[in-house]
Subunit: 399 residues, 2 copies
């Protein structure tokens, strides 16, 4: 008899964004005359950079000619041209990694979830509260237990390691989704020191690193001492280069990173992850890898930075609104997310903002108990919509 | 302490194709003057069809314009345009499935491996011997035990269900990789009946269905009665349309397909698989989905059939060679693989064929004990290379 893997039975039924989708759909059906501004799901809205489009069109052309056609990629880890471009990108902000340590994937979500499969169900997973729900669900699915590190207003929503508890696998995200908080170098160093003391592995989600403009803040965990001994970094072109529908990311696993066998013997994470991918993944489309390569050229970087500047101008407009209202928030600087104190339970505020002002955001409680009373808005919309939404928020909050 | 998931420790160290790669590399380095013909890994060599290239170039262009840009795909299961095209393709050869039951993925290898994660480690997995090694490795990784159904010459390498044993999860592949054997309708019906008796789920790999020209042979497990109650079908554009480097496939999960909870309560496989994908996958690039859609147009089908005809002409040349030599083989008809009796241990024949005639194939024993004494060649090369390789095989076998 085919039986379910028990972890799946422990999943909570409703995914946050499904619930939001349902509520918005119902509102729009009942109020077709009231246009809704969506600042909920963190999807980009600006088109791909011209150099990326041109590179993909050229690559598609190559695929139609016998001499330049590409079949299976040998390793499934990404073409050297892209792995080297990624290593060069790290070098541009002072972090040394080797191209051999870069694994190209179809987005940070896939690897971020699948990488937990490497670790036995007896590993304790530590996440922050609030947290991006995918980390929790992926860990629950394969039977792991979860502990939480609180993040709250008193610490600017940057969690600190819980020195009284032991973790084996630690998810961190900076700039943070949902709170927009960014670890300082000292805060991140504390996590690295804690992980080394626990012999734990940190899975560091750096998907929003390109939004950091303050040069004192670390854009990679590998900017911090000893991180190569305890961390895997996930990154993505989704937000950096608008690849949410084009699907390309990368995972960095240092060669010296180890986890442990049944008798405590050290094992190479990179080796076992490569083995996993060899059986369960066949790489990213050649065409997409050529598009991703173009992101890392000087021209690509300039075009992508323009787009990020557009979104960060939206974030500035949002910050100015909350500053003027005297409402506490994190994010909006070095981050496309603004996380603010909404003054009531999050779902109540969601319903109020939707029904009174037709603005959709994300209830903070959907990311964990510490998120209740908070609300997330994203800077990925158009400037016009952002200005209009902030006008409506001001009206609502002033009443 | 971060600990490995124990299943990974049970994996065999050397992947078949890694070993072949090493041997070929060493030979080529030692003999740079002797050109090698590669008929080993099953990769295609003809370029993408023109309609596919044009569709992807057009889609890349859309991604560069604000009005037609696409971000995250809502469901991650594939755009409706492609899911409907796949359902229409099934209908063209008489199989009714709903577009809702089609899940678009980045290739059959990903889903074929990941789908085992849904099933608990207490499930017994049945595979044939010989078998495509990825099914075994994916199951071993997440701690499942494996039983084998023998396939050998006396049964034309089509395994029959082992009625004296119980299985929970069953991998079948037809046309088969590596043996080229194709299930008849009656043989497949026997497997479906067995699965239903065991309350097992069959994972049916139909990656080579487009190579079937004999209309009496089933191209889908859903052409067989009651299969909707017990089967998942995996298919891919890798071989059908040359997508090995473009990465798109699809999985069909019937709505009524069930597996079982802790107290034997029936659960929907489609529901849990969608939940898994929702947390661990974000869909296939829009550009690639537009390319895949083009495969299913009348023009796309005509262009893809031309390519398949080219490969099947190679298969015909191979079959004629083994017929003339009086050597037993399966495949080569309705299949791009030819699996022949090499008259000695498989690796000995591999070394002999490489060193004497500079032809690379795949040792049958790499697919299981019943493969020893057999050898796999693929029809995916050029006609010139196939003709030349068969000339060399004739010379070797006649000595």
């Amino acid at each position: 008899m085919a039986r379910i893997s028990k972890g799946f039975l422990n999943l909570k039924e409703n995914y946050l964004f499904v619930e939001i989708g349902r509520k918005v759909r119902e509102y729009v059906e009942a109020n077709p005359d009231k246009p809704v501004i969506r600042m909920g799901i963190g999807d980009v809205t600006l088109p791909l950079a011209p150099v990326v489009v041109e590179a993909m069109q050229r690559a598609a052309g190559e695929m139609g000619v016998k001499e330049t056609f590409r079949g299976y990629e040998d390793s499934g880890r990404g073409y050297d041209f892209l792995r080297e471009a990624v290593a060069g990108y790290y070098k541009s902000y002072g972090v040394e990694i080797s191209a051999d340590e870069v694994l190209i994937n179809d987005g940070a979500k896939s690897d971020g979830g699948n990488i937990t499969d490497l670790f036995g169900e007896d590993n304790v997973v530590l996440v922050s509260d609030p947290v991006y729900p995918v980390y929790v669900d992926s860990s629950v699915m394969n039977g792991k237990s979860i502990i939480f590190a609180d993040a709250n207003e008193s610490m600017g929503f940057s969690p600190a390691p819980p020195l009284d508890k032991k973790a084996d696998l630690i998810y961190l995200c900076s700039p943070n989704n949902p709170t927009g908080a960014v670890f300082t170098r000292a805060q991140l160093q504390a996590w690295v020191d804690y992980a080394i003391a626990c012999k734990a592995v940190i899975i560091y989600d750096a998907a929003y690193e390109a939004f950091i403009s303050d040069e004192t803040l670390p854009r990679s965990i590998f900017a911090v001492e000893n991180a190569r001994k305890c961390a895997i970094e996930l990154c993505s072109l989704s937000k950096t280069a608008g690849f949410t529908g084009t699907r390309c990311g990368y995972t960095v696993i240092p060669k010296e990173l180890e986890f442990y066998g049944e008798n405590g013997e050290p094992l190479s994470v990179l080796k076992y992850w490569s083995r996993r991918q060899g059986s369960k993944f066949n790489g990213v489309p050649y065409i997409v890898q050529r598009g991703a390569e173009a992101v890392f050229t000087a021209e690509g970087q300039a075009q992508c930075r323009e787009r990020i500047a557009y979104y960060m101008d939206n974030a500035r407009i949002m910050c100015e609104t909350f500053d003027a209202l005297g409402i506490a928030y994190t994010g909006g600087k070095n981050s496309p997310y603004v996380w603010f104190k909404c003054g009531m339970p999050s779902w109540d505020f969601f319903d109020l903002l939707l029904s009174e002002k037709q603005v959709v955001g994300t209830p903070g409680v959907g990311f964990g108990k510490n998120g209740d009373g908070y609300f997330r808005l994203t800077a990925f919309g158009s400037k016009e919509n952002t200005v209009e939404a902030m006008k409506r928020v001001r009206e609502l909050m002033n009443n």
